[in-house]
Symmetry: C2
Subunit: 398 residues, 2 copies
Amino acid sequence: MKAAVMGYGTIGSGVVTVLDTNRDVIASRLGEPLEVTKVLDLRDFPGDPVENKLVRDYQDIANDPEIDIVVETKGGVEPAFTFVKAMLESGKHVCTSNKALVADKGAQLIRIAREHNVNFMFEASVGGGIPIIRPLLKCLAGDVIEGIYGIVNGTTNYMLTKMANEGSDFDEVLKEAQDKGYAEKDPTADIEGHDAQRKIAILTSLVAGRQIDYQDIPTEGITKISAIDMKYAAAMKRVIKLVAASKKTGDTYSARVAPLMLPEGHPLYHVDDVFNAIMVHGNMLGDGMFYGSGAGSLPTASAVVGDMVDMARHVDKNIRLDWEEEKLILADPGDDSYRYFVRTSDTKSDIEKIFDSPEYIDAGVEGETGFVTGEMKQSSFDEAAGKLIDVRSCIRLA
Amino acid sequence: MKAAVMGYGTIGSGVVTVLDTNRDVIASRLGEPLEVTKVLDLRDFPGDPVENKLVRDYQDIANDPEIDIVVETKGGVEPAFTFVKAMLESGKHVCTSNKALVADKGAQLIRIAREHNVNFMFEASVGGGIPIIRPLLKCLAGDVIEGIYGIVNGTTNYMLTKMANEGSDFDEVLKEAQDKGYAEKDPTADIEGHDAQRKIAILTSLVAGRQIDYQDIPTEGITKISAIDMKYAAAMKRVIKLVAASKKTGDTYSARVAPLMLPEGHPLYHVDDVFNAIMVHGNMLGDGMFYGSGAGSLPTASAVVGDMVDMARHVDKNIRLDWEEEKLILADPGDDSYRYFVRTSDTKSDIEKIFDSPEYIDAGVEGETGFVTGEMKQSSFDEAAGKLIDVRSCIRLA
């Protein structure tokens, strides 16, 4: 079985390493060797094992009748989409780790794959090496998924863990994460929640079977979380995590990416550092959780190779996958209900004019009041919070 | 698509409930309805929805050309084996929740299924509703699995959690678990570790691709764990869990079921009550963990229905599964290395004549000494422990 890799970066080179390291066991599971014969990249890699397999033009792969399986690890929507589409149309199976591509074009690529009796797989696009997409689609095929709650971004989870443990402030921890290589030079996609937004869009589309546009999901990152917020969280015996969530709401879903204060005993409470975890609630299963390394070259490449083996086993068969292109309109995010933690310079008597029975939190911070509201709709909370003199911080509770 | 259920007990009736409750979503995922038309059970169920679908003779199902999928939820090796074999030989796909059957006859049934171009699936046989077998076989198809560590028995985990939290003793907690329906009247299979032994035998066979006889796995239950042991564990900031584990050791595996003292920060540390969790270490993935309800009618039935849908999607195709009948000889359990916690009436000076630099644990217990050894081979430890006047307790550390 011959394969090609498009994009020889962190993940792409990891795929070559996994196939090489575990060559024998993969051959035995498959009944034949699985070999990368072409690698698409515009760069040269002198001395690298793939040096003589490099091609510059994706058509060289599309037109190679020996290649059945193509891996896309370039990232970004274009030119990845053009490349992947061409491969599927040439009758090749494609798997990818590219969440931007899957969130934007997943439904369309699934349709094209079906039309050409090949498969398009993307286990590595969410949760890195953590098996989540296959369990969700296959093991839970008999369940109605009523909720998904995930810590799906390792960079921000590392930062929040550091802030909680060391009392350090956001900027300080960001610099340290960048120095350690856990955060990119331009960390926007991680810290503003855009990465998590695409991942929860993919998962929610899969369980709904319809296209959910990631832009429709209200998203807050962690840039406003401060050392003072962490103090309050500690006083409440809670931790602050960036949670990407979606929930069945009538015939549709509501979805949101935002920092959440989680109580002790919550399954995501102990998920620290760069680890990811995704909790799923099925109407029959109840709660299930998947935990592991959400990023990194080899864990993510491991998931890509899992897809490659599955595709090699189904080389003559399209596996049905329900993610239609028709767009699903999400529920109004103003109708979501939460309890809210708020910090303000208002006095208690002013607060009590606006909110029913606030629960005050003493974290030993001078010159402000921290309190938790009762459960209320997002829209009602927004209206009420607008009446406060200021809102120094506002974090939802889970 | 028509199906039959053999055994209308807790799980079998759960399967009918899941198919009924989620009828529409399953039909839409499958492109056609999935309907149970026959139920094999010797009992009558007057007034039950399956009342008119009951059959007494398994041949009525084997000979029904309309039925493509059969669920086995009777439990036990016989007559389940005879029934399942007949179904596969009649060209029907079979899935089961029966760990005794799978541990004993899994490899053979997989061969028979392959010979008849049908599938034999058993996601529900380990971890109840927790997806573990499919992730292990599919998502980690590119990994060499180097270790599996699982809390796979809800009854004993509930009991150990109670003992740790309430200081109560084994017998007391067992009675309570029986009253609540978490432990059976004859609790032997759970508390002696036999249930966990079969489950780790299945998982290890799957990653090794060879038959592992469960009887070969050294197994200790929790019957010797006392309230005093829990006191020491607390003093060491550890918890005691019944862990079923296997580890790649050269060309084979070592496996064991035994209580383990886990340190804070261990992924299984916070797995409490009736919950199950299975940690997997892949040479590329690193650590991954699967967590959820390990038992119960609906969660387990949810896993069975996941298999049914997968089989319905592969009704014309045997999915390759490597579990050969050839027996794998496990590594000598005497070669396993651990640190050991020991309680004895020996004096410290006698202990130090036998063990190098023991670490003493003060749990405020009079009339005995508790200590932890350095890391040593099981065989060396057994020899050394034989020189103590008595061993009141001995628990391995993780």
